[in-house]
Amino acid sequence: MKFKRISIALLVFILTGIAIFTQLMIQQEEKASKKDIHNKGNQIVSLIALHSIHDFEGDKRNFFIKTLMEYTSSHGLVYCFINDQNGKPVVSLTPGNLESEIPNHIQTKSLAAMGLVYQPFETMGSGQKIYEFAKPFFENGKKTGAVRIGLEPPFISIISMQRVSLLAMLSFFIISAITIVYYGFVQALAPLEQFSEKILNKRMDTSVALNNSTKRFNVGSMVEDFQKSLLQFKDKSKAIETINQELASKIGVLRFEKNQVITILNSIHFGIIITDIQGNVSHINDYVLNLFDRKRDDVTDRPLEEVIPDKEITSFISKQESLKQQRPNSHMDITFPELAPGETYRISYGCLKDDQKTAIGKMIMFNNVTKEMQAEKATQEFTAHLSHELLTPLTTIKSYSEMLMEGEIEESETQKEFYNTINSETARLSRLIKDLLNLSKIEMGSLTLDKGLVKSDWLFEDCITAVQGAAQRKNISIHRHVPDNFPSLIGDKDQLKGALINILGNAVKYTPENGDINFELREQDSKVIFDIRDTGYGMSEEDLSHIFDKFYRSQDPQIAEQQGTGLGLAITSEIISLHEGEMKVKSKIGEGTHFTVKIPKEEYYLGKQS
């Protein structure tokens, strides 16, 4: 369809071209014939004017006229007039009445002229185009007459042989040119066709190639193919756009997840450094930055040895790297006395590997293990203390009984002393075991308080009774300070008594002979308060900060001299806590110690369930 339109357009174009070309040729021919006539006219009049006017008179007249007539007919002369000086016609050769159709001014101008005259004109009747040429006769320098001839322009036919042959030639060239251009285009566009085929078929296989070679080139189908290709391309680009959007959203998700990982790494409570395989830091979390007082920008992409200039760590890492197989628990403990005094860090090394098990980086972790180390140390110390405390009375019992059995003691007084010691040490051991059981019950949360109404006056007196003997032996006076109305409280009477006896017993134990102890009971802010003030040795601040620690014994010789399990105050403080009470202690060396125990007061009403 399109091709037809193109053909029509081409045809119109060619025809217009031929018309314009023909017009141009005709114009050119007219111009050439005009020049031709001019030359011919000039030649003829000049030739005639060479003669004497008299040659057309007398004897020669017939001969000249005859020659002139022959000449005229062969040269297309329309007319020929020869006039003498006076204008009298000498020769007049003209068909019919043409002479009368020549305008007068033509004749007048021709006759008056002294040289060659050329005047084109149209006849008055038929309007025939005529070119008049005139020239005067001269004889002895004197004008004797004039000759005038009329020539008609040659007929120019639209169909001339010359023109037809020229046109034919031209057409041949044009057609040849079009053909050459056409096949040139075909050749030039052939890859384009294959290109469109390729796009359509996605790949170029042999069958397509064969098809292609047998298929005739067709602009229409090619345009169609191209259109198809463009449509497919459009679809493809749309699909790619969709994929791109999906990718962009995936990248967004990945970025979000990456940031999340970084946030997690920064918020975890241990240090982490990740390096690439060359050992340059690719990620470092805030924990490490804070520990080493470094800025992120200063350490990113820097070598690890530069970021953490610690020889111990560097050698640890290289040692780990040299191991062919990583041990799961490979770590080292290190301290940084200047950066983090008193803290211990456990450094672990890990090799980062990809799916193919190829090493892609390293990971170094910093874990603050100070608390774990302290706990471990505390456990060790506890075990050491416990074994010491248990073994000391046991050693006495064993060695004393061995001595008695082997008959090493002969004096009955010493024997008695030994038996007493065995007895008291056995009691000490059992007390210690009871304390330990009590403490472990409290710590495991399995100590159940046998709660009930406790009248503070009974509690107060029971405590004094319990330590009275020991106090009397050291001649220590216990001064009572009691209110008019004794408040009541809810609790486990035995446990509370044990706790208070512990404090009061310590007061007796650590007060030198003839000292004083003030034991006061009072009520304040809905609390029952027991105040125990001694005039004992007192404690240093160091001792004061440890008095509730298990097995802690003061280094003060006066205190250390006294027997004790080192568990009493630990148990006391736990029992007071279980009663929602509080305990405060003040002490000064040489002045004494002051314990204050506060337990919530409980009003007792009949019928009230506790």
């Binding site: 074994s387 073994l391 064993k398 003061s554």
Partner: protein, 123 residues
């Protein structure tokens, strides 16, 4: 049974000192007593005992420190140190074994075994 050997017993526990005092006196030794490492160190310098029996866990100065402080004295005048301890942990074993003329005796100890160790040392 009298002999001229001096034994210094260092322990914060009076009962231990007492039992060793009787046991050693029965064997004819001259017995000296100290309540902690510091007191013990002073007495070693003053009385130059042949045998020192010491506990590890003591206030003021413990048995380990005492051993370290007396290692110099031992080069001039050797004497046996018997360390009585509740439990031998690996660290303690190390320094006891590398110290000159030092033995350890685990609690609960037998007084007879201590006497044996002393007699073996003195030949």
């Amino acid at each position: 049974m009298e002999n001229n050997h001096k034994v210094l017993v260092i322990d914060d526990e009076a009962h231990i000192r007492r039992v060793l005092e009787i046991k050693l006196k029965n064997r004819g030794y001259q017995v000296l007593q100290a309540k902690n490492g510091q007191e013990g160190f002073d007495m070693i310098q003053k009385h130059q005992p042949d045998i020192v029996i010491s506990d590890i866990n003591m206030p003021i100065m413990d048995g380990k420190t005492l051993c370290e402080k007396t290692s110099g004295l031992k080069k001039e005048r050797p004497f046996l140190t018997i360390i009585i301890t509740a439990r031998i942990n690996p660290e303690d074993r190390d320094w006891i074994e590398t110290s000159q003329d030092t033995q350890f005796m685990e609690k609960p100890f037998s007084p007879a075994r201590i006497v044996e160790a002393i007699e073996q040392y003195l030949g």
